[in-house]
Amino acid sequence: MASRRVVQALRGALATPPLRLSAARSRVCFQCQQRWSSVSQRQGSDRVNFPGAVNSSFTTDLNFQRATEADAMPTYRYLDQEGQVIDKARGEPDVTDDELLGYYKTMVTVSILDLIMFDAQRQGKVSFYMVSQGEEGIGVGSSSALRNDDPLFLQYREHGVFFQRGTTLDDFIAQCFSTKDDTGRGRSMPVHYGSKKHHVHTISSCLATQLPQASGAAYARKIENARNPNKDEHRVVACYFGEGAASEGDFHAALNIAATRSCPVVFICRNNGYAISTSTLEQYKGDGIASRGVGYGVDTIRVDGNDILAVREVTKAARALALSDGGRPVLIEAMSYRVSHHSTSDDSFAYRAKVEVEDWKRRDNPITRLRKYMENKGIWDEEKEKQLRSDARKQVLDAYRKAEKEKWPPLANMLEDVYAEVTEEQKEQLVMVKEMVEKYPEEYDLDIYEGGLDALKSTVEAQR
């Protein structure tokens, strides 16, 4: 009885909708009518014209499609393992020798930085670190084909991207050591970089959350691009993630929303074979991550991540595609092998054989592949290699030693940024801090904080 009364009351309410609502409703109905009529079934047609599948032909074969029966999607390559151009007819790539040398130097520097920071964690200098060994080519190659102001969302194993964008070793190590120069102000774990200057959103620990956010940022770009008649200034968003993260629901949500809202976003999956201990054999059953892109109506390509020139070329094409038709998502699956342990908290020999890793290291990796190509071209040799490695090592160690001695962020920093504005309570607390350290100067050495007591005083003054 009671529920019937509620239903009647509801009906009564619906019977007299406010004018705006009814107008909106009729518009919706008009739209659906249009959609329906455009897909209605023609007499004798050999195609299905259901609203959910508009170009499917009828068949009398009862046949389930099986992923395993179809060939795997091919992997695009430019260079073979020996660094030779495979399709000679296509000629040389459109990169200058200087650019090549730059990419090479960046990759080598990243690999040396990784070794040194990994050891720094072992020595207790930083609490945590993650290495990108084996995946330098994906980061450097892809970002070399993007505009430097295309906004980026990263996962954590994309160090090459930062250096290709011009991040310095000082910037990078400052984040790991949480010094005054850390733009994240010491609030995040090591490796969780972000850079406003380089248009990189701060890395989040929660897997895959960056994917739908990238769709959203791309939607914002789409609107901005539409307003800007200068096509050269149009931008895309690029979003990096691992094949493990692609099992999260957010991956699927991101591709579908980007496809349906036509967002200019390039999704770049690093498929490195592992998600901590979970191998791709247990991560998914289909044809990698690429096959899913097709399912969501997203233009998709698979590329050899150890071939930096192929990654570069593919990303360049993907970027152009993402800007076409007012915006559309593109998916790149870059294949590689995670040579390193997952992080400093992991010992990967508990779940994979050491020989497997050694084998990959020796057989193929992005650094040696580009090196061979440059040697074949006659622009690189053993001498230069030695010099580069010793220079890079020295630069990393210099930056490392500098960061070790660097001051910490200003003291007032600890109460800021919880909200966009400092709250009244926090202002009061900062005053208390100031009074305390002034009262007991021999107890508190503020020299380690940037600006020391003076900075604290002027912040308090400014907040008054």
Binding site: G186, S188, L207, E248, G249, V418, Q426, Q429, L430, V433
Partner: protein, 375 residues
């Protein structure tokens, strides 16, 4: 002053204190208990066991007696669990019952909920409860409510477990305490073990309980050893839900606390005794939902003073609930307004010193207790 309550005076952050990681702090916390049972002197009688091993034993025993129990989660099988809680279980029970999942919390939690709705008794391990955020819809909107909404025809005997709360040096997104979140949901039961006995008894009870239960463990406790009584070593040992444990009796002050904070409060209680000669009663809640309000009221009747210690954020938290209940049921026995010591009102900082000061410490608890006691 509101500020002092919500975000503890910042001046405190500058107090010179020995620099210790939370883990190190904690080693000290368990030391008094541990030293009492240092040896495996006799065959029977109490023995030492880590919280990790106690959880492992609970899982193994329940899987042994109940073929409907299985474990699913990220890295639980081949890798023996991200924190090695499921060590050896794959070898012992096989891959049909100890199952690795792809990296999809909503996927494997959803699978577990589905299996529970179909009559199995899954144990769903989250690598940490921070990652359970990806699956919280399955926990709250499905696991907790389906039995009710189906008119009681769909069982949901499921155990969600994993580390909760902050660990060392893992910053804002990996350092949250979800006790209050899950504790507020009708249909869920929630427990938070402190010692090895708690861990074993509560996890076994959770697996046996016909309802969805969240077992909120703590990463910093996994490696600590506690005595296991003879009874607790048996495979029929379970602890009842909704029963708190008086870890330390006392007549002057009631400290109500849970999980890792129990250890901190015990250290604080010792300090209160040696410094001021007062006896604090430390109540280990063990179970957050249902909550043993009777134990709190009985204690407050004796002491007249109440303090809640927990490591969630200050507002709308477990401490708030404990104090509200105390005021509702024992107002007339209170000699002073109750106080709470909680985590600070800030996303957990990465910096070691700031992290240390974002959560209760024995010193902070002692200080607040002394103020409340006016000693």
């Amino acid at each position: 002053m509101v500020a002092a309550r919500l975000l503890r005076p910042a001046a405190r952050l500058l107090r010179p204190s020995p620099s210790i990681r939370p883990t190190a702090t904690f080693q000290r916390v368990s030391a008094p208990t541990a030293s009492r049972w240092r040896t495996y002197a006799s065959e029977n009688g109490p023995k030492e066991m880590t919280v990790r091993d106690a959880l492992n034993e609970a899982l193994a025993e329940e899987m042994e007696v109940n073929p409907k129990v299985f474990i699913l989660g990220e890295e639980v099988a081949q890798y023996n669990g991200a924190y090695k809680v499921t060590k050896g279980l794959l070898d012992r029970f096989g891959e049909k019952r100890v199952i690795d999942s792809p990296i999809t919390e909503s996927g494997f939690a959803g699978l577990c909920v589905g299996a529970a709705l179909a009559g199995l008794h899954p144990v769903c391990e989250f690598m940490t409860f921070n990652f359970a955020m990806q699956a919280i819809d399955q926990v709250i909107n499905s696991a907790a409510k389906t039995h009710y909404m189906s008119g009681g025809i769909q069982p949901c005997n499921i155990t969600f477990r994993g580390p909760n709360g902050f660990a060392a040096g893992v910053a804002a997104q990996h350092s949250q305490d979800y006790s209050a979140w899950y504790g507020s949901i009708p249909g869920l039961k929630v427990v938070a073990p402190y010692s090895s006995e708690d861990a074993k008894g509560l996890l076994k009870a959770a697996i046996r309980d016909p309802n969805p239960v969240c077992v909120l463990e703590n990463e910093l406790l996994y490696g600590l050893s506690f005595p296991m009584s003879e009874a607790a070593q048996k495979d029929d040992f379970v602890l009842p839900f909704g029963k708190a444990k008086i870890e330390r009796p006392g007549k002057d002050l009631t400290i109500v606390t849970l999980s890792r904070n129990v250890g901190l409060c015990l250290v604080a209680a010792d300090a209160l005794k040696s410094k001021y000669g007062v006896e604090a009663e430390v109540i280990n809640l063990r179970s957050i939902k249902p909550l043993d309000i009777e134990a709190i009221v009985n204690s407050v009747k004796k002491t007249g003073l109440m303090m809640a210690v927990e490591s969630g954020f200050p507002m709308f938290g477990v401490g708030a609930e404990l104090i509200a209940l105390t005021v509702e049921y024992a107002f007339d026995y209170l000699d002073a307004p109750p106080v709470r010591v909680t985590g600070a009102e800030v996303p957990t900082p990465y910096a070691q010193k700031l992290e240390e000061m974002s959560f209760p410490t024995p010193e902070l608890i002692t200080e607040y207790a002394a103020k409340l006691l006016k000693v």
